[in-house]
Each structure stands twice: as C-alpha cells, then as structure tokens.
C-alpha cells in the first residue's frame, strides 16, 4: 500500500500545497487502493475515475499557474450516494433510483467542487439511509475493514469503511439518527453530525427532513474539522439552514485544551445495557479528561427513555411523505404491471418492486402514524417527547459544557445477525438519536479497542446547538491524549486488508 494514502488529510494538504505531490498522483493512489480492496469492502456504489482525475488535473494546473486555491484543493473525497451529483448516478441505495443521474448538484457537492476537491465516487448506504449496517442497501452490504464478517455501521457504512480502508482521506455522510456517528464508532473513525441547519440539505435525498444533517467522516478530528469548514454555511435553497456562521472548526480542533471544561455524563446512556468493553473504554476516556483538568459531572435526561419510540414515529412519518415522490412519473424506475396499466397500478407496481423491506416497513409505519385517528396518539405524542428531550438537553447544558456517552452499546456485529430483528437493529442508535431529535451537534471519536471483542469502540461528545466548535475542541484534545498513550493513531491498529486485483 502506498504510504501516501495512510496520511491524515491535514498532512496531505500540506504536501499538495508545497507541490511535493500532485492531486492527480494522490487521486490515482486512492483509485488504485479502491481497485485493490473494494471488491471485499464494497464501500462504493459508483467510482468515477475520469471525473476525479479530471478535477485533480484542473487543480494541479491552477496550482502550477499560481492561482489562489482553497486550503483543501486537490484533496480527493468520497460522497455518500444520497447526495445528488450531475456527473455520477445517485441511487440512495435503492433500486427505485438505479441509474438515475441527477440534473443538479447538491449544495455540499457544489462546495466540494468549488474547493477543488476531486470526487472519487459515491458510497454505499442502507436504502434511503434506513438502517444501521448497510445490509438494507439494494446493492449489497459494505464490510467493516476491521473484520470483513462484520458490519461497517449504517446507514453510512460506505463512507465509514471508505476512510477506514484508506480508499479516501475524507468522506461525506448524513446523519438522521446516528448514520455518521454509529459507523464511525464501529470502524474506529471520526464522524460529526453538525448542528441542524449548519450544513445545507439541498440535494440530500431526504429521509426525515427535520432530523437529517450532512456531516464529515474522517480518520481524525482535525481532518473532520477541515471538512466541516468546507461544507458548512447558509444556503438560501435550504430555508432551515442557519443564517450565521459557527466559526472555524479547524481552529477549535487545534486548541487541545479542556481545562476547566464541565463534561456531563448522561446517566441514561451509560452502565447497564452497554457492553463491558465499551464501558471500560468510556471510563478510561473520562479519566483522561479529568486528568487534563476537565470537571466530570453527571446529568439526568429522564425523557431519553422515550427517544427511540418518538424517533421511530417522527422519522417514518416524514419519510412516508418524502418518499411519495418515487412514483415512476418523472424519474427512476417504472414497472408496468400486466393488464390495464392505470397510473395507480403503475405507481403501486413500481413502489412494490423498487422499495426494499425496511423502506416499506417505515412507509407503512409512518403512514399509519399520520392517519387521522392515530395522529394525536402517535405523531403528536412523539413531537411532545421531542420537546421534552430538548428540555432535558437544556437542563443538562446548564450544568455542563459538553455531554458524553459511549456512541453505541455494542461494537460491530456480524452481517446477518440482526437482519430479522428490526427492534434490535433500532437499538444500535439509542445513544445517537437524542441529538437528532434536539437538533444539537454530536461527534463520535474512537477511544480504543474493546477488549472483550477486540473491535473499535468510541465515545460520543454532544454540545448545545451552534456549539459545534466545542465538539472539535474536546474531541481533538481527547484524541491527542489517547494517541499519546497508544503511541499511534487508532486506525493504525486496524488489520491489513488483503490486496486483490
């Protein structure tokens, strides 16, 4: 393996800037890596060598001409396949969109292109981002580079595995209930769900509009910060996008200081129900923070008990409506049934054939939750729970500057293990969902290998809305302490993948 691709993004941009390497060289190295390992890992649904190399060559030309370039110019990146791209098919992991090439670029994709970041390809995900393992992708699951028998998390298992297997230095993810953070947790990588509205959702194929947020996927905190700084900012095309800037995440990630910081441990998200190896790593991280001068306090969030229930009403309700547009009339799959093909029958046959089991399950759930007679009991109650969870967070942030918990109860499970048990699958997101319900930012960083399973574990850091910088400050400081003890980066513990092709 080329040593180049193992480097952090922050190092690579310096090499590009000093012209020690070219973007074409760097992009090609990642494409070569993909050719060698992605047959096993299956991070990508689409790889676009021509477009990526063309973009790389353009950056090299501009750099040679002495033009002013963006700090990350020339650094290649992978994009989750639920963001629209005009030069690559966009499927959202669904048969119903197979082969669809969008007519427009998502705002985030536009920003990446404007920054001169070559897009290597589109990464795998559970169909319409519904899942925690990528097993619900219509195009087959991605695998965890730490153990190919295991899941890389979901829905963004393509993006987590793509950076964990060194096929890309950075990737874009989206997080509706943990789809960035849970995959980061199981693959020993870093993932951030920014404050709701910090990054434009325009061009993100919606799962649940009030919960979805695009964010960075990386192998370390500073790299994630550099990427969030590229993609964040107000967008008039997304009326829920925040008008104000949240400042520089990269600056926050360089502070490496937690002295005097109040770190709240969420009572409901630790201890019982969490794998001993995960809890052990979590407690170790707390010790490190304490030793570095942070104050550890316990906070009580009693309404979190209802978070999953509320989430699995609000999400399907919004999704049932968001997914109604997949009707064969204007784009995507069209299935014409036998007999008289009325529009209703064509729509029904297309949706029957085009949607997978988890999508259908959630559409039915959401349709039911919004039905008259059910609305108040289900959707209405869930919205009330959402308010209560926001209040829990308000109270907790009165006592603490950031909150922490293990990112998930258990390290990566085996493919197929939970496929027939939706409820067990939903519980993977128990610690990540509250942040989406409250719109606050959250980050998962690796905190070592759980000794009972010998798989990556991670810690989640949460901050108040618009407090994304705090995540990067605390995350980078903790990462630094961990690496000092380990003597290397978390990703360097990962086993070597077999190289084929």
């Amino acid at each position: 393996m080329s040593e180049l691709i193992r480097k952090n993004a922050s190092e690579l941009v310096e090499l590009l800037k000093s012209r020690e390497i070219s973007s074409v060289e760097l992009t090609q190295a990642h494409l070569d890596r993909t050719a060698a390992v992605d047959g096993d890992v299956h991070s990508y649904l689409h790889v676009g060598p021509e477009a990526a190399l063309a973009a790389a060559a353009e950056v090299d030309r501009r750099r040679a001409a002495g033009e002013a370039l963006h700090a990350l110019a020339g650094l290649p990146i992978a994009v989750k396949d639920n963001l629209t791209t005009t030069d690559a098919p966009t499927t959202s992991g669904s048969k119903i969109l197979e082969g669809w090439v969008p007519q427009y670029d998502a705002t985030v994709v536009k920003k990446l292109r404007a920054a001169g970041m070559p897009i290597l390809g589109k990464t795998n995900l559970d169909e319409f981002a519904m899942g925690s393992s990528t097993e619900f992708s219509a195009f087959g699951p991605s695998r965890n580079p730490w153990d190919l028998e295991r899941i890389p998390g979901g829905s963004g298992g393509g993006s987590s595995s793509v950076v964990a297997s060194f096929q890309a230095p950075l990737a874009i993810g989206s997080d509706t209930g943990g789809s960035i953070r849970y995959p980061a947790f199981v693959t020993g990588t870093v993932g951030t769900k920014p404050t709701y509205g910090a990054v434009s959702r325009y061009g993100l194929i919606a799962l649940a509009s009030s919960l979805d947020q695009i964010g960075p996927v990386a192998r370390n905190v500073l790299d994630a910060a550099l990427l969030q700084d590229v993609i964040a900012g107000h967008d008039p095309h997304d009326s829920t996008s925040l008008p104000e800037s949240l400042g520089s995440m990269a600056d926050a990630a360089k502070k490496l200081d937690v002295k005097g910081l109040r770190v709240g441990v969420i009572k409901q998200l630790s201890g019982e129900g969490f794998q001993p190896g995960v809890s052990a790593r979590f407690n170790e991280s707390l010790e490190l923070l304490k030793n570095a001068g942070a104050e550890i306090v316990e906070v009580d969030c009693p309404s979190f008990e209802y978070a999953i229930a509320a989430y699995y009403l609000i999400l399907p309700a919004e999704a049932s409506s968001n997914l109604a547009k997949f009707d064969s009339v204007r784009f995507g799959l069209r299935v014409t049934p036998e007999g008289t093909p009325t529009i209703e029958r064509v729509m029904a046959a297309t949706r029957e054939a085009g949607f997978g089991p988890e999508v259908k399950r959630r559409i039915i759930l959401g349709t039911y939750a919004l039905s008259s007679g059910s609305y108040d009991a289900f959707y209405g109650s869930a919205q009330k729970v959402r308010t209560l969870i926001q209040r829990d967070f308000d109270a907790a942030f009165a006592k603490a500057d950031v909150l922490v918990s293990p990112t998930a109860p258990n390290t990566a499970f085996k493919l197929g293990e939970k496929l027939d048990d939706p409820l067990a699958m939903y519980l993977n997101d128990i610690a990540t969902i509250p942040a989406n319900l409250a719109g606050i930012p959250g980050m998962s960083i690796p905190n070592g290998v759980a000794e009972d399973t010998n798989l990556p574990s991670g810690i989640q850091i949460l901050a108040p809305a618009r407090g994304d910088a705090r995540l990067y400050q605390v995350g980078a400081a903790l990462e630094h302490m961990h690496e000092e003890i380990w003597g290397k980066r978390m990703i360097d513990f990962a086993p070597e993948l077999e190289v084929r092709g």
Binding site: Y104, Y202, S209, R330, F331, E344, S371, S372
Partner: protein, 500 residues
C-alpha cells in the same frame, strides 16, 4: 350522464333553507413560483418553466417566495382578516400524477389570514355580509390533459400528459363560513361574492383574476335543510365552475337537484360534483367524506412564516379602495341611475367603463357602448363582454370619432366589427377602410338632388312644416352613399333647399 330530477326552484325554496359555502382559489401573479425561481407564466410551452424543485426531484427543497406572502397578507387585509403572527405550512399527502411530490405544500391549521368578512351586493340591490373563515397559501398542481376516451377525464383516457409549468404556482384559497339567509338569491350571492373577490385581487394587483384562465376558480358548497332545522344538511362541492354565470347556474341546479332528492326521502351523498356548462348540469365526481385522509403534518422543510407587525401595517396602508366603496364613488362620479349602474355591475363592466371614461369618453357614452352594442356582439358569440378583444381606450376613441362628427352611429358599429377583428384602433380602421362620413356639401347636394328627383313633392311638404317627409329623402341619400352620409347635414341642406 343520468338525468337528474329537479324540483321547481320556488317550490324548493318554500320547503328548504339554502346554505352555501364558497372556496375561491386565487392564482397570484408573482414573477416566480411559490417555492422556486421558475417563471410563473400562463401559456408557455409545456414543461419549460420547471426546475428540480417544482418537479419534485429527489433532494430538492422549497424556499418561500416573499412576494407571494406579501400578496396573501394583502388579500387577507382587504377581506378584513386578522393576520397570523406565525404560520406554518403543512403537507397534504395524496398521490396524483399532477402533484410532483405527491403532497401539496399548503397551510392547514395555521392560515396566514383568518376571521374576515365581505359585504356583497346582489343584483336586487340587497346586501349580504359574507363571513370569511380563512385565507391560506398553497401551491398549484400541474395541469393534466387526458387524451383518448370520450369524457376528457382520466377514466377511459388512453394516456395523459402532464404540464408542470403550473406546478408550484402560488395560490391563495379563500374559504367562507357557511352563508345563511340568502334564500332565493343564494345563486346570485355566490356569483356576486366571487365577483367581489375578483375585484379585490385585481385592485390589489396580486392576480390577473381571469376566470377563463383559471386565475380565479370557485368551488361551491351547497346544502339544504328544512326550514327551522338547526343541523346542517349534507353538502355537495361543485368544482369546475369557471365563470360567474356558471357559479350562479350551478348553485341553482344543486338546490333544485338536492330538493328533489330530499323530497323523495333520498339522502344526499357528500361528494364532489362537476359542473358541465354545455349541459347546464352537475354530475357526480368522486365521493368525498370528512374521512378523506390527507395525513396533514407540518412541512419540516420550511420554517414558519412570521410577518412583522411593521410589514403588515405597511401593506395595510397600501390597500386600495374596497369594492363597495368604489362602486358608490364611481356611480356618483358617472351620474348613472341605479338601474343603469346595476346593469354595468352585473355585466362586470366597472373596469372597462372606468378605463373608457378615463380615456376621455363621456360616462353615458361609455356605458351605452359597453352595455349596448358590445354586449350584444359578445352575446351573439356566446362570450363574456369583458373578454372581447377591445380596450376601454379604443371605445373612448370610437366615441370621440362620433363626437367629432367623423363617423355616425351606424358607421361606428361597422368600425367596431373591424376593431374586434384585429384590424387596429377605431381611427386606424376609419382611415384604412375609408369609413369617414361624407359631410362634403357638394357630394351631399348631388345625392339630395338625385333623391328628390324621385320624390318631387317632399320640398313642398317640408315647407308646410311636415318634417317627417324629410325622412324618406334622408334615407335615400344614406342608402345611396352606403351609410357614410352625415345625416344631420343632409337634413340641414334639405331644409335650406326647401326654404330657398
């Protein structure tokens, strides 16, 4: 279409109280659509004013058009409504191919304007206060054309074409509370109400307000109940009523149809009905019940609309005159008798006459042309007089030509037909076709002499004071000169000749 049994109208009113409710959709004339930057333009090539947002491509998001909100607030204020300090959009979920996202973004439980009222005068001169429940914003759907099949409806069509140019065009839906007590005048009230709404939105400049283009569309709810009964009867909602006349006819038809059914003890089915202008009847559409489940929920892609007090007051200060006040004012200015004025209002000609008068015509001349010859022409073509391709300025020009003696009434009528045929303004037509009256004495005297040659005793008769005898000569002169003679001058010349 099965023929409905109808009860005699007077008899129906003897037995039942009529309750109506009206939902008027006003298409706003903003430059761009409700949630995207596409042009809001009628009549463009199909599917040219579209983008990822209004055809609902995956990943696209709506952003509210501020101008549409401004127009909606103005409409609300003009209807005496309160304006909500905060209002959310909702999604109305149902599958239909003209609905790009398979949900309509609409205000549901939080309309921008609510609790207003409108004074409406019916042709008899009676005035009713119509209570407005709400005015809310929503987006229009695309336009479907069903090809094949006999009915033009989706059932039986071979295929259907969708034009998404209209998808996402901003609409304001104005909903009345139930209107009681109009009795026999309920159909007229329905039409007069819609007319008032049209006048308001036109005066506000927020809509082109052309019913024939669907800028203003009305759904009429009608229910009957026995006199004295508290509980409202089952209502029907008649759609597709595209002119004021149709509204009146459709309401009257539903009263008669429902009365006949109720008298037989048959229950009214709560349903949507379609109005057929050609047959003068409604037919059953799809059954509609309160159980229709649109699964409304707040639109998560849009933040609530929160108009500031300052903005609302700014718009209130810019409100134009109310229709009722305007009518009082113009009737006084024009000096029309009540009956004359009522004709003008009923023919929907206020704007035309105002334009004609402001272009210099005498009010009575303007009224005469619009309610007379032009109304007759429109009627003979089965058209609304307001839809004739002639402007108030052109009518004023015609009147001025008569005033100046350039043409007479007969010629003017001829000129009108050419103006309506698109040959140009009245003055242009007169010049191009040489239709000016002949008041050249030489030509007239020659024609008079020729006419007198056949009727030599006319001069004697005139000398004896029997002026009616002159008519035959004048008629002959007009005939000989194909109507282009100045009749007044002919008469003068004839008298001069008799007395010379």
């Amino acid at each position: 279409m099965a023929k409905d049994e109808l009860m005699n109208y007077e008899k129906a009113l003897e037995q039942f109280e009529v309750v109506i409710g009206l939902e008027v959709h006003v298409e706003l004339n903003t430059n761009t659509k409700m949630f995207c930057g596409c042009r809001n333009e009628f009549g463009d090539e199909p599917n040219t004013n579209v983008c990822p947002i209004c055809i609902g491509l995956p990943g696209s998001l709506p952003a509210v058009n501020k101008r549409a909100i401004e127009s909606s607030i103005s409409i609300g204020l003009a209807l005496g409504c309160q304006i909500a300090p905060t209002g959310r959009f909702s999604r109305k979920n149902y599958f239909y191919p003209d609905l790009a996202k398979n949900f309509q973004t609409s205000q549901y439980d939080e309309p921008i304007a609510f609790e207003g009222s409108l004074e409406v005068e019916v042709p008899s001169g009676n005035t009713f206060t119509v209570a407005i429940e709400r005015a809310h914003m929503e987006e229009d759907a695309g336009k479907l054309t069903h090809v094949g099949g006999s009915t033009g409806r989706i059932q039986g069509a071979e295929y259907s074409l969708v034009d998404y140019n209209r998808a996402g065009v901003p609409l304001v839906e104005i909903v009345t509370k139930p209107v009681y007590g109009a009795g026999a005048e309920a159909p007229e009230l329905a039409a007069a109400y819609v007319r008032s709404i049209r006048e308001i939105v036109k005066a506000l400049g927020v809509s082109d307000a052309k019913m024939e283009r669907g800028n203003v569309r009305c759904d009429a709810n009608v229910s009957l109940r026995p006199h004295g009964q508290e509980k409202l009867g089952t209502r029907t909602e008649t759609k597709n009523v595209n002119s004021l006349r149709s509204i009146e006819r459709a309401v009257r038809y539903e009263i008669q149809r429902q009365a006949a059914l109720l008298a037989k003890g048959t229950a009214i089915i709560q349903e949507t009905r379609h109005w057929h202008e050609d047959k003068g009847a409604t037919s059953s559409g799809r059954p509609k019940s309160d159980a229709d489940d649109y699964r409304y929920f707040p639109e998560p892609d849009l933040v609530p609309v929160q108009p500031s007090k300052e903005w609302i007051e700014e718009l209130r200060a810019k409100l134009p005159e109310q229709p009722a006040a305007r009518r009082k004012r113009v009737q006084a200015e024009w000096g029309f008798a009540d009956l004359e004025f009522r004709d003008v209002v009923n023919a929907d000609l206020l704007d035309q006459i105002e334009e004609t008068v402001s272009a210099g015509a005498k009010p009575q001349d303007a009224r005469k042309w619009w309610t007379g010859e032009l109304a007759r022409i429109a009627n003979s073509q089965d058209q609304n007089v307001t839809e004739l391709p002639i402007s108030g300025a052109q009518v004023a020009e015609l009147a001025a030509l008569i005033e100046a003696g350039k043409i007479n009434d007969r010629l003017a009528r001829e000129v009108l037909t050419y103006v309506l045929a698109g040959e140009g303004s009245p003055a242009e037509v007169v010049t191009a076709r040489g239709l000016e009256v002949v008041s050249d004495d030489g030509a007239l005297i020659a024609a008079i002499d020729a006419a007198l040659a056949g009727q030599p005793d006319v001069l004697d008769a005139i000398r004896e004071g029997r002026m009616q005898a002159a008519g035959a000569v004048i008629g002959a002169v007009m005939k000989a000169m194909k109507g282009s003679a100045d009749a007044g001058r002919v008469r003068e010349l004839l008298i001069e000749k008799a007395n010379s």
